[in-house]
Amino acid sequence: MNGIHDMGGMHGFGPIEREADEPVFHAPWEARLFAIRHAMGAWGKWNIDGSRHAREIIPPAEYLRMSYYERWLAGLIAQMIQAGLVTREEVRSGRPAPGAARATPALAPAEVARVLARSPSLRDVQIAPRFQAGDRVRAKNVHPTGHTRLARYARGKAGVVLRDHGVHVFPDTNAHGLGEQPRHLYSVRFEGRELWGDSAGPRDAVHLDLWESYLEPL
């Protein structure tokens, strides 16, 4: 979707505000939410692409006002309700519905290390790559209404394939319960001037990771 989250290249957000000696979490609730998010993920009811999309569809005015963890909270609640793990009324009241069954946590303390281990998106599937390093390609000018990782600022622009990362889960389908549909993922280099015209310097470039179906040969 051409959502507010797709903000690469926008002006008007002002200077970057940094904080000296920044803590890992700025409040205990951020830490608890961060942990809840991972513990609930262990139920296997959603994937990372669907979680990203759950944050992307937060209404734009709210999205911009929310902090990072407030977006996580909104996305998590939406996903838990959708998955049937909790009901709206339970979230509202903070109490289990009368007579609700008591589950056994999907994530035991002893299992935490396993859950925080890597969870690769690379799939061991043999698919012949359409592109090779050095190929000139164009990012397609597409405007899907669902989840996509093809940033708007690169669409329609020409670049060069730098590297084939192998066959990876495809977020555009995986986010919507349409399966992993893995395909080749490439690192593609776009010259700054191709993306931004004369506003970019002659020695600026942006590299994006783009799935094969985002690209057409040039």
Partner: protein, 210 residues
Amino acid sequence: MPHDHDHDAEFTEVPSDPALRVKALESLLVEKGLVDPAALDAIIDTYERKIGPRNGARIVARAWTDPAYKQRLLSDATAAIAELGHLGRQGEHMVAVENTARVHNLVVCTLCSCYPWPVLGLPPVWYKSSPYRSRAVIDPRGVLREFGLDLGDEVEVRVWDSTSEMRYLVLPERPPGTEGLSEDALAGLVTRDAMIGVAKVPPPVKGGRP
């Protein structure tokens, strides 16, 4: 693809008191048997105490002192970082990019806030902010100047927009005046910002501890 679910406005408005809402949520989930509070404690402990930029700094220092390791890091960062035990969630597939006198690399995630947790810890607020996400790709030199780094026109700036599960670690230039330092001492010099690419590693302070 159509939106397959809509949010309740009730839960997508900025919460008036997120601390209260998260507390109520945890208590609900514990009561329903969906989460174990001890597991939450263990997760928080991991990111507050075990994972952080010192992991990345160790990788950088090793690459600075061990040419064969540096070679492995640049050709297959996932494997090279696995050697030191620093893979994990949000660091599934790693790429290391080397800063030199002629090329400066900078990492961003314009679409959300992807960041290599196992080597750098959780990202700082500025990395997740709209100003950084919006500007890093269109005005990288302006962003770097805001961080105090004014690169010459002869330097190429490469911005890596983390649009997939590949995660990027910048291998900064080893600063001058560090020839005699041990790997540990070098690791102590390496900053988080240098591994994101918004800074260089500062030379050791004369007479001070590195």
